[in-house]
């Protein structure tokens, strides 16, 4: 957020986009703090955003634990959002997500950084694809 509490415009506009698409979108700020996900993402994550609220990267990584496609735990730093933030590039991988209701979902995640200016990272977005549904 800015010094007065307003989110950067790319986050505002990405949230507005998220509210108007059926594609699951998950939005974090420059510190990796979860600031929003849309209704379509609520289905994948098994929890409404108003119930989850703002979560740090450690908190949301723990809330929705992940495994690789072979069932091995996926470290937080290997998740696409973390890669997009750290390396400032798009990142994609299939993974298994434990949703908030305990179901294991095979999903694909594409994340990309949001740069307000060439050298100014203001956040990142993850798009989920529920490739096989809940198991």
């Amino acid at each position: 957020m800015s010094h007065n509490g307003q989110q950067p415009l790319p986050l505002i506009m990405m949230r507005e986009l998220a509210d108007n698409v059926a594609t699951p979108l998950f939005l974090v700020d420059r510190d990796g703090v979860l600031v929003y996900y849309n209704e379509a993402a609520e289905v994948v994550l098994g929890l409404r955003y108003v119930e989850a609220g703002s979560l740090t990267a450690e908190e949301w990584s723990a809330r929705w634990a992940a495994e690789d496609v072979n069932g091995r735990p996926l470290p937080a730093e290997a998740r696409p959002l973390a890669v997009a933030m750290r390396e400032r590039r798009p990142s994609h991988r299939p993974m298994i997500l434990m949703d908030a209701k305990g179901a294991r979902r095979t999903i694909e995640v594409t994340a990309f950084p949001l740069l307000a200016r060439a050298d100014e990272l203001v956040g990142a977005v993850a798009i989920f694809w529920d490739s096989a549904g809940a198991v």
């Binding site: 007065n4 509490g5 307003q6 415009l9 509210d19 108007n20 200016r117």
Partner: protein, 281 residues
């Protein structure tokens, strides 16, 4: 700080007998700080008359702040006398682009074949600044420029001096089809620019009936601008950037609707008009 409006029409100049009360020139506002600085907001067609007005004064330094580079905010530039005066220290400020300098973007208009003179050749040899991310100063004024929701890179300006603040958001669609009242302030475009300003000059292009067919065009309805002003807590709202198809009678109806929506609180909306002067002291 004093402000004088030289143009408040949006999109396209609209001179003629039906627009004489509000004026037909596009966006241009002259600011004079108490420290004596000359700041100009946007270079619409109103800039030509401001240049004529400045001729006797012969200002030595001018800061021209561009909200964005759409033609209605730029097309007065080639007819602004001080730009061609080598004795003037001329500063341009504008929104950054990730790929093209401010000078090169302005040159797309101020160069042949669209204009006979290239910006690189004007005698004042201007200095070009991308607006910084945080606050900055021009003379005695503190400024904040922040990206706002419009079409293409666009910033709003917040100018403060001696505890008084003018917010300038001439082209702005704070939410695209949603309900501003359901949004927390931190998620509203331009909130930091307008918050608690003494005067807000804000896009008011459309009636409520027109807006649904123009969602995403980057402009506000009357209902938007009134709600936005109330959420941001401004003390005085000036309806700006009038649609070129709206004659004076239509603007009066829009103003009446804005006053109705505003309710009984202080600082009822007013209509920006060419020649209007504001004192922020």
């Amino acid at each position: 700080m004093r402000a004088r409006i030289w143009g408040c029409r949006g999109s396209l100049a609209a001179p003629g007998p039906d627009t004489v009360r509000a004026g037909g020139n596009t966006s241009c506002v002259e600011l004079r700080t108490e420290a004596g600085d000359l700041i100009i907001l946007d270079a619409g067609t109103g800039l030509r008359a401001l240049g004529l007005h400045l001729a006797a004064e012969e200002p030595r330094r001018i800061h021209l702040l561009l909200s964005h580079l759409h033609l209605d905010h730029l097309e007065g530039l080639g007819f602004f006398g001080p730009l061609f005066d080598p004795k003037v220290e001329f500063h341009f400020w504008g929104p950054p682009s990730p790929v093209t300098s401010l000078k090169d973007r302005i040159a797309r208009y101020l160069s042949p074949p669209l204009f006979p003179v290239n910006i690189a050749d004007v005698p004042s040899d201007p200095i070009f600044h991308d607006v910084p991310s945080g606050e900055f100063e021009i003379g005695g004024a503190r400024l904040l420029a922040a990206p706002v929701s419009h079409s293409g890179p666009t910033v709003g300006y917040r100018i403060s001096e001696n505890g008084r603040t003018l917010a300038y958001l001439p082209d702005h669609e704070p939410v695209r089809g949603g309900d501003l009242r359901e949004m927390s302030p931190g998620w509203i475009s331009g909130y930091d620019i307008a918050r608690d300003a003494d005067v807000l000059m804000h896009d008011s292009q459309y009636t409520e009936a027109e807006y649904p067919s123009r969602v995403g065009w980057g402009h506000s309805s009357i209902a938007h601008v009134v709600t936005y002003a109330q959420i941001t807590g401004v003390k005085s709202l000036l309806l700006f950037h009038h649609d070129p198809l709206h004659d004076d009678d239509t603007l009066d109806l829009k103003l009446a609707r804005a006053i109705e929506l505003w309710g009984d609180g202080d600082g009822a909306p007013a209509l920006a008009r060419e020649g209007m002067q504001l004192e922020l002291n």
